[in-house]
Amino acid sequence: MAMRLGLLATVFIAGAALMSLEMASFRLVEPELGSDIVVWGSLISVFLGGLAVGAVAGGRWADVRPSLAKLGLILLVSGAVALAVPLYADAVLDWCYPGEGAPLPAEWGTGGGDTLVVYHPPDMRWPALAAGTLLFGIPALLLGMVSPYAARLFVREMPHLGTSIGQLYGVSTVGSILGTLGTAFYLIALMGTRWLLSLNGLVLVALGLSLAAANRLRRNV
């Protein structure tokens, strides 16, 4: 029973951290790559892409001698990466879309004539996708592994498979809702973007360590 509650808490927290990180990613990237809808769309897609790959990978790994400790390891690494993101965010953003010093497109000369001269924006699709993937691809992938892995540990009897999976998904999604609302309503104003990333990182690391500790306890019993 304790293990099942622990697993529900795990997917809840992982779901909350995932969406909190996604909100933070908007704040982190927008000043450098602009507030264009292309940027928002790219970041959302990167997170969904990470979840998809993570779900497949996590599911496969879960079938090879699953343990709480390994689930803890996934969360520990995802938290560590989230903690590290602020350290290299600027370098990644600069590399994906060099701003200062970059030459202007040739056609941006002086205008002329009575018809309005309108210059259109650079294509931000690839820079936004690249920056999103490099900064948040790994944490999204790792957090995507959590649900199928937790499901493997959570499900005891096949006749109740649907009930169990449904419980896990429901709880994880409620976590995501609270992570989104909490970040949007309070955390963005309470702490800066970098602290927000760090907070999520710390929570995930702590969760990972707790699972590892719980694993030891269970074995010792």
Partner: protein, 317 residues
């Protein structure tokens, strides 16, 4: 398009045409507004509405009743909104503006005004929404001149990319219900500052109608970035322009007003610029503001906008 759709459209037009005509003929007295354009763009819902009784055409974003821009149908160049008149004071705060950047096109009232009355000024405009540019051309009589160019881009992205140096950067990019936080921060204002020529200045249109912390935080941010800062109110409109200047000397009210009189001499601006400066000038300088400057890391503009400043709450209680 298939046949039923065409038929439905034709039927709709048959019904709607006379209905609109009837409305125009009979409903005008009660409901004087005529919507000319109403479409979703990438960023807003853009509406162009005529108010024939007042002789005005207005640009609205989203559902808000807030007016982004207003134009006299009889005189498309005349500045209608008070804040746009106060923005023009920037041209008198700088000794000889040649290169001006406007971030946020709105209904193109400032560009048209500058094109007509200050034709030698080289005007660059950055606007994020291509549909706004088109609407200005189609509905607000915005045309090109050899000294005008429009860049469709995020304002900050443009400043980062373009090495061009300006005498004046005007920022009119905050809607009452949508403030792009990355155009409010110290990092952004430092970037804009780095694109100013010696003695250049930056002016930003703010909104303090409902007393809010964002307004104070933004003033604080300007104070942190510029050695000289001023305010110019816009009557009771709720708008207020904050100016940050790199000039060596502080601008005194009388000097600013005198220069305003000089640049307005012989021109029919449609309002008294010198009088406006005399009436609305306020020195911001070292006034103490109990907010921290906004930064890229910490700029909760949406939250700050809803909160009253501390001194305001103390005064209330």
């Amino acid at each position: 398009m298939n046949r039923p759709v065409i038929l439905a459209a034709a039927a709709g037009a048959l019904v709607a045409g006379p209905a609109l005509f009837w409305l125009a003929a009979h409903g005008a007295a009660e409901e004087p507004a005529v919507t000319r354009y109403d479409r979703e763009s990438k960023y807003y819902r853009i509406r162009v509405v005529d108010y024939p009784k007042e002789g005005r055409r207005c640009l609205h974003f989203a559902r808000s009743r807030g007016i982004q821009s207003s134009m006299f149908l009889s005189d498309p160049v005349k500045l209608d909104l008070r804040y746009s008149q106060s923005m023009v004071a920037a041209l008198a705060l700088h000794p000889a503006p040649q290169d001006v950047l406007l971030v946020g096109l709105g209904g193109a009232s400032l560009p048209k005004f500058i094109q007509k009355h200050f034709p030698d000024v080289r005007l660059d405009i950055v606007e994020i929404d291509p549909d706004v540019v088109r609407v200005c051309q189609d509905w607000f009589e915005f045309k090109g001149t050899p000294n005008t160019r429009v860049v469709v881009m995020d304002g900050r992205m443009y400043l980062k990319r373009s090495p061009k140096q300006y005498d004046i950067i005007m920022l009119d990019a905050y809607a009452a219900d949508r403030i792009p936080f990355h155009l409010t921060t110290l990092e952004f204002i430092q970037l804009a500052k780095s694109r100013l020529k010696e003695g250049g200045l930056m002016a930003s249109n703010l909104w303090e109608h409902a007393v809010n912390r964002f307004y104070h935080a933004e003033l604080r941010t300007f104070q942190a970035a510029f050695p000289r800062t001023y305010l110019c109110k816009a009557g009771d409109s709720g708008n207020i322009i904050v100016f940050g200047s790199l000039a060596a000397e502080q601008a005194l009210k009388e000097d600013w007003a005198a220069r305003a009189a000089r640049i307005a001499a012989g021109k029919d601006l449609g309002f008294d610029l010198a009088d406006l400066v005399r009436r609305e000038y306020e020195h911001l300088g070292t006034q103490k503001i109990a907010e921290k400057p906004l930064t890229d890391d910490m700029a909760p503009v949406d939250t700050l906008r809803r909160e009253h400043p501390r001194h305001f709450e103390e005064a209330q209680s």
